[in-house]
Symmetry: C2
Subunit: 226 residues, 2 copies
């Protein structure tokens, strides 16, 4: 049976990464393994929340069961992710049903041990806030990067579509003004302009008003943003 | 001169959204407007951190200046975003130079007022932790969605590239095995399989081992994940 190093695992959680070793040590007596088989219920909607969970392996789903019995899966958690923190911090009951999607193992950190640490040491809460803030900023950067990549890919695809004469040096005359194209591609005019500018800087296209010269068709076809 | 409702603005910050109105009210005396012109310095690297910032309008950059004088921009913050929270919670000096990229206005929430609230009321810190946790989960969902969209777009582009005979019902024989293709597309084999499965379910392709029948070429060419 797989056994894990709880101290090491906690250290890699955004919530606990900024705690000192001593602060993290206070959590260990309140942390226990929860193993479950596929389909096993972890908590029912409305159960009082007595802690948060970290997924060691396996997958967990949170869902709502309609009165008709149909299930709406709200979220799926993978290894390394955590769930039920917000409910625990707010001291509310679980708003969803939690269930194993496949055989797995979780760590349960009791709300008691966390609340006690926060009460006894304001620095404890500040360090958890710092850990979450750092993680939040990293994620915002990821989302921004993905959004731009996505926008670039959409513009490239559009240019390839309107570029009928498939040859090096094709000249594309945009059929409508840029704001309309941006809106069709579900981009803001600013993002659309930014992407055209970026592709120009990379030497792939040349923009003159509504005329776009595709300088490097094969490169544009192979374009992978990033 | 634009004047804003500080209480309303704080309410929409992830960090403060779960505070009660009374808890948020404690922050108001410690919150002040900071206006600046393009290029103006907000703090120097090494300055003691006396609070966190929220961007109301304009943009801010955080950067490192190398001994040679060259600048490396580490992060840019837009309206609605916040910065310097982690440094404030950890009670460390600013590790970067902060500067207005364009004329703008910020709110500065003093670390004193936040630390005092946390010391006097453990519930204050728990509510901030809940707000950040909720925001974190929403962002993780965004990142997952973008990753899948991105993966799908990459697979679609690959299929279109290997699909030389441009006609409805084209049959593509994958030139190498799926793990190699996945690795070339910088995807895990599981993600690659999942995307093929998804495209099959949508009726765009049919997969038989290494043979892929493109059922709906025009639809595949227009494919926008989401």
């Amino acid at each position: 049976m797989l056994s894990i190093n709880i101290r090491e695992f906690l250290k890699h959680q955004p919530l606990f990464q900024q705690l000192s070793d001593e602060q993290r040590e206070l959590l260990v007596p309140g942390t226990r393994e929860v193993r479950g088989e596929k389909g096993q219920v972890i908590f029912q909607k409305g159960d009082p929340c007595d802690g948060m969970y970290l997924v060691v392996y396996g997958k967990v789903k949170l869902s709502l069961i309609a009165p008709s019995g149909s299930e709406k899966v709200m979220e799926i958690f993978h290894p390394g992710q955590s769930f039920a923190e917000a409910v625990m911090f707010l001291q509310r009951p679980y708003p969803l049903l939690g269930q194993f999607v496949e055989d797995g193992m979780l760590l349960h950190v009791s709300s008691e041990v966390i609340h006690q640490a926060v009460r006894n040491d304001p620095g404890f809460a500040l360090h958890m806030l710092a850990g979450l803030s750092l993680r939040l900023h990293a994620l915002v950067r990821d989302v921004e990067r993905y959004s731009v990549e996505n926008a670039t890919q959409r513009v490239v695809n559009y240019l390839l579509q309107v570029c009928k004469p498939h040859q090096q040096g094709a000249n594309v005359h945009l059929p409508v003004n840029k704001n309309l194209i941006a809106s069709r591609l579900n981009l803001t005019p600013e993002t659309f302009s930014r992407v055209l500018h970026q592709l120009s800087e990379e030497g792939l296209i040349e923009v003159n008003g509504r005329d776009i010269l595709i300088r490097q068709l094969p490169e544009l076809e192979q374009y992978q943003p990033g």
